[in-house]
Amino acid sequence: MKLTIRVWRQKNEADKGRLAEYPIDGIEPDMSFLEMMDLLNEELIGKGEDPVAFDHDCREGICGMCSMAIDGVPHGPEKATTTCQLYMRHFKDGDTITVEPWRAAAFPVVKDLVVDRSAFDRIIQSGGYVSAPTGSAPEAGSTPIPHEDASKAFDAATCIGCGACVAACPNASAMLFTAAKVTHLGLMPQGQPERYQRVTAMVEQMDAEGFGGCTNTGVCHTVCPKGIPLETIGRMNGDILKALRP
C-alpha cells in the first residue's frame, strides 16, 4: 500500500506546531499502525531528519502509553482498540491519514505526538486507592464479594489510563477516567471506608487539573479502548451527591 501520512510536528511545548506530510510506500496489511510509524521513522532517520516522537510501549493494548488521534479519532477507527492494536488492513491504498496528539489543555504536548498525562497520576494520588499498608491485610478469603459486584468492579478497573476519553470529549473532561476508579473501588467492600472522601477529593483534583465538565455526549465511552461503561459516571455523580449532602 501507498499512503500519505499527515502528522503533527511540534518541537516542544513552546513550539506552535504544524502538520507535515510524508508519502510512504510498502505498507502491508499485517503491519500494525505503529509498525507503519516505525517504517516512516526509519526513512526519516535515513534522510537525516528528526523522526516523529510518539509514545508506545507494550504494543499489546494494555499499558495505555500509545496515544494518537487518527483522522480525528483517538486510537483510530476500530472500536475497543488501542492504536498499537490497530492494523493497516483497515486502511486502503492511496489513503491520506492524519495523525495528531491528544488535544486537551490538561495534556500539554511534549513533542510531536507525545503529551504529558501526569494529571491522571495526580487524580489517583488525591484518593484513587485503598489505604492498606503492606502487612496489615486480613486473610483474603474472609470477605466474600458477590460475583456480580466483583465483575462490575472489574469492568471499571480495566481502564488503562490512556486518556482517549479526554481527547475525544468536546470539553476535555476526565469524568470517565475518574468515574472508572471511583466505581472500581466503590463496588468493593475494601473501598467502602474511604468511599465518600475519595470521590470528593478525586473530583476536586480533576477540576484543579483543568479538565472540563461533563455534558453527557458519551463520546468518551465510544472511543474507550476498554469500553468503560458510561454508567460509571452516573455512579460517581450519585456518590458525590451523597458525599456533599450526607
Binding site: N12, E28, D30, M31, S32, E35, D38, N41, E42, L44, I45, G46, G48, E49, P51, H56, D57, C58, R59, E60, G61, I62, C63, G64, Q85, R89, V110, K111, V114, R117, S118, D121, I124, Q125, G128, Y129, V130, S131, A132, P133, T134, G135, A137, P138, E139, A140, T143, P144, I145, H147, A150, A153, F154, A157, T158, I160, G161, M188, Q190, G191
Partner: protein
C-alpha cells in the same frame, strides 16, 4: 570448557580465551537450620531501623513495575525517604501490566493437596534444580500473604458465585493454585501496587520521577551510593544520591529484538551495574513462551503472548502428515497429532513452558508446522466449546480471543488459533544474596532483574508472585540490616563526577558517529543472531559463530550508527542507541554462558546434551551451580564465579512430565 587452559586450544572466534574461572562464590547471608524456619530466623537476626531513624535514611528505586512499585510503596509506608524512577510517563505502565494468566499462592482453597511445601517443591523442580532451596521456600511462604495484601487493596480477583476467590491450574503443576483477574492479572496487580505508590507520593514519602532513564550507578567507597539519570524530556543529566539503591528494572528479553517484552524494556540499568562490579548470574537462562502469536512478516516489531492458561482448555496439535496445508477444520481427527498429549500423557497440554516450546519447534522442524512459513501449531478450543459451551469459554478467555482476532483477523471460536514460541522472560539477572543484595554492597536487585528464584525455568504465574514477594515482603525486611548501619562514609565527589562524565561522553559519542544505520536496524540484526544461535536450541558451533558475529556487528555499530537530533530534547533514537549498545555486550555474555554450560537444563537446551528421546539432559555432577560473571572490560574475558547449589530437601531427579 570449564578449564581455561583447554579452552585456549579450541576457541575459534578469537585467539583470546572466552572467559576465565575465578574464586567460587558463596551466599554469605544464606541461613541455616530447618528450611521452614529460615526466613523467620533471618528476619529475627536482621537489624531493624527504628522508626525515627527511618526518616533519615534514603533509598533509590529504579523501575516501578510490580517489584519496584510495591517496594517503593512499602518502603515509603515504613517511613524511608524514597526516590523512584521509571522511563514510562507513569508508573502504571510498567510491563508487569501485560501479564495475563495469574499469580500462584499456596492457599489450598481448593483442598486439592496444595501447601507451601508443594509450591516450593514444584518451583524447584520446575526450575530444573538450578535455583536456591532457601530462596524458593521463602517465596512459597510469602505467596500466601501476597494474595491477602492484594485483596485488601481492592484488586478485583475472579470470584465464584459464592463470592469466594476462584483459582485455576497452570502449566507444570497438578493443583489449582493460580489466582487471576480474567486475562489481565498483571494489570490489576500493577494497578494495586501503583495506587499504593501514588498514595505514598501524595504522602510525600516517595518522590516519583517519570520519564527518567538510569544510565549509571554511582559507586563510592565500594558501596552503591546513587544513580545518574537522564531526564528524557529535557535531556538533563542528573545525579541522585541515597543510602541504598534498588534496581527493579526487569528482564533483558529484548536482546532478541522480537519478544513479548514492551518496546522500552532494556538491560541498561542492570548492565551498567554489572560494569561497576555487580555479578551477572546465569544470563543464558531464557524462557521461551510456548503460546504466542506467530511472526507474520519482516516488519514485525514485537510478539504478542496468549496466556498459557489457554492450555487448560485448548488442545495443541499439528497434522500427522508433513506439508498438510488443508484448512484445520477439514482435517479428520485421526490425521491430527495431539503431540503433547501423546508424548506426555500425565501432564498433556500442561507440561512446563520449556518442554512445550521445544516440542513445537520439533514438530515444525519435521515440516508439520502450520501457517505462514510453517512456524506454527494449532491450539484448538472446539472440544472445550463442545464440553463447556461457548459462553463458559468466552467468560474465561474472551479477551484473549478478541486480542487474537484483532491481530490476525481470524476467529478462534470457529478456527483453531495458531501459536508459536517466543522469548518471554529471562531467569538470569544480577546475582543477589538471600537478602537480595548484589555483589556491590548497598545495591539491591528485585523482581525479574535478579536471578534468584526460578532456576533455569520459571513456572507460569510465578513472575507476578516473585515480583510482589520481593517488593512487598522480602526487600523491605532485608534492606533494614544494611540501612541500620548507615550512614556510611560520605560519597567522594570524584566518583560522582566520573559517573556523570562517563554518561555524557557516551551520549556525545552516539551523536557524533553520524553513520548511516539506525539503532533499530542494528537491534533487529542482533536479535536474529540471538534467536538463531542462542534461542530454543543451542550448540557449541552455533554459539561460537554467534559470538564472532556479535563482535563484528558491534564494531559496525560503533562506526555506522546514526542518531539524529540532540541530547537536550526528547530524543527516542538516542535512548534506543544506548539500550542497543548495552544489549550488544550482554548478548556476548549470554552466548559465553550458554557455551560454557555444557548441559541442558530448563530453558537452556544444548543439542549435544539430550536423552535418547530428546529431553534435556542435566549434568548435576559438573553444573549444579549458579554461574555468576564478573565484568573485566569490553572485549576482555569475563571471570566466572561458581556458587554451588545444594539440595537438602528436594531430591534431584530428571524432570519427567510423562
Amino acid at each position: 570448557m570449564a578449564d581455561s587452559k583447554s579452552t585456549a586450544d579450541t576457541v575459534e572466534p578469537d585467539e583470546n580465551l572466552l572467559f576465565t574461572v575465578g574464586d567460587p562464590l558463596q551466599d554469605a547471608k544464606a541461613p541455616e537450620g530447618p528450611i521452614e524456619k529460615r526466613w523467620e530466623e533471618r528476619r529475627f537476626k536482621g537489624k531493624i531501623v527504628n522508626p525515627a531513624n527511618k526518616r533519615k535514611r534514603s533509598v533509590i528505586v529504579v523501575g516501578t513495575g510490580l517489584a519496584g512499585g510495591s517496594a517503593s510503596a512499602t518502603l515509603g509506608e515504613a517511613g524511608y525517604q524514597v526516590t523512584a524512577f521509571c522511563y514510562q510517563d507513569s508508573p502504571r505502565r510498567a510491563h508487569s501490566v501485560a501479564a495475563q494468566g495469574g499469580i500462584n499462592a499456596a492457599k489450598n482453597y481448593r483442598n486439592d493437596g496444595d501447601s507451601v511445601q508443594r509450591l516450593f517443591y514444584d518451583t524447584v523442580k520446575g526450575g530444573d534444580y538450578r535455583s536456591r532451596e532457601s530462596n524458593v521456600h521463602r517465596l512459597a511462604e510469602v505467596s500466601v500473604q501476597i494474595i491477602d495484601q492484594c485483596v485488601a487493596q481492592g484488586v478485583p480477583f475472579a470470584r465464584d458465585y459464592g463470592g469466594l476467590l476462584d483459582t485455576r491450574s497452570f502449566g507444570g503443576v497438578q493443583v489449582s493454585r493460580t489466582f487471576y483477574a480474567r486475562g489481565q492479572t498483571g494489570q490489576q496487580l500493577l494497578i494495586g501496587a501503583y495506587q499504593a505508590l501514588e498514595r505514598q507520593i501524595a504522602a510525600g514519602t516517595v518522590k516519583m520521577n517519570t520519564r527518567h532513564e538510569m544510565l549509571e550507578v554511582i559507586v563510592s567507597g565500594g558501596r552503591a551510593r546513587g544513580v545518574v539519570v537522564r531526564d528524557m524530556i529535557t535531556g538533563e543529566i542528573e545525579t541522585h544520591l541515597a543510602d541504598a539503591v534498588v534496581l527493579a528494572s526487569g528482564g533483558y528479553g529484548n536482546v532478541y529484538f522480537l519478544s513479548t517484552n514492551a518496546m522500552g524494556c532494556n538491560v541498561t540499568a542492570t548492565w551498567r551495574a554489572h560494569r561497576k562490579g555487580a555479578l551477572f548470574a546465569n544470563p543464558c537462562y531464557t524462557q521461551i513462551h510456548p503460546t504466542c502469536i506467530p511472526v507474520s512478516g519482516d516488519h514485525q516489531s514485537k510478539l504478542t503472548l496468549m496466556s498459557e492458561s489457554l492450555r487448560n482448555d485448548g488442545r495443541v496439535w499439528v497434522p500427522k502428515a508433513k506439508g498438510d496445508d488443508r484448512s484445520p477444520e477439514t482435517i479428520p481427527e485421526d490425521e491430527r497429532d495431539y503431540y503433547l498429549e501423546r508424548i506426555y500423557p500425565s501432564f498433556g497440554n500442561l507440561v512446563p513452558r520449556d518442554i512445550a516450546s521445544r516440542a513445537a519447534k520439533n514438530v515444525c522442524d519435521e515440516g508439520r508446522g502450520v501457517g505462514p512459513g510453517g512456524r506454527g501449531v494449532y491450539l484448538d478450543f472446539s472440544d472445550a466449546i463442545q464440553r463447556l459451551g461457548r459462553d463458559a469459554v468466552e467468560a474465561k478467555y474472551g479477551n484473549l480471543f478478541e486480542m487474537y482476532d484483532r491481530i490476525t483477523g481470524e476467529d478462534p471460536y470457529t478456527k483453531p488459533m495458531r501459536i508459536y514460541p517466543a522469548v518471554h522472560y529471562t531467569m538470569g539477572g544480577l546475582w543477589v544474596d538471600y537478602d537480595l543484595q548484589s555483589s556491590i554492597p548497598g545495591l539491591f536487585v528485585i523482581g525479574e532483574a535478579n536471578f534468584s528464584d526460578h532456576g533455569a525455568n520459571r513456572l507460569g504465574a510465578s513472575a507476578l508472585m516473585q515480583g510482589l514477594a520481593d517488593g512487598y515482603f522480602v526487600l523491605p525486611n532485608t534492606i533494614g540490616s544494611y540501612l541500620a548501619e548507615a550512614p556510611y562514609e560520605g560519597t567522594d565527589p570524584k566518583d560522582v563526577d566520573e559517573a556523570v562524565t562517563a554518561v555524557k561522553e557516551r551520549i556525545s559519542t552516539f551523536l557524533s558517529i553520524n553513520g548511516d544505520r539506525s539503532p533499530d536496524s542494528f537491534h533487529r540484526e542482533l536479535g536474529h543472531i540471538m534467536w538463531e544461535y542462542c534461542g530454543m536450541e543451542r550448540t557449541d558451533e552455533g554459539l561460537r559463530k554467534a559470538i564472532s558475529e556479535i563482535r563484528s556487528l558491534r564494531d559496525e555499530f560503533w562506526k555506522r550508527l546514526k542518531v539524529t537530533g540532540a541530547s537536550e530534547e526528547l530524543n527516542q533514537t538516542l535512548e534506543k542507541a544506548g539500550r542497543v549498545a548495552d544489549f550488544f555486550e550482554l548478548a556476548e555474555l549470554m552466548c559465553i554462558d550458554a557455551l560454557h554450560r555444557e548441559e541442558s537444563c530448563g530453558g537452556h537446551f544444548r543439542a549435544e546434551h539430550q536423552t535418547e528421546d530428546g529431553e534435556a539432559l542435566r549434568d548435576d555432577e559438573n553444573f549444579a551451580y549458579v554461574g555468576a560473571w564478573e565484568f573485566t572490560g569490553t572485549g576482555t574475558q569475563p571471570v566466572l564465579h561458581k556458587e554451588a547449589l545444594d539440595y537438602e530437601y528436594v531430591h534431584m531427579t530428571q524432570r519427567s512430565y510423562k
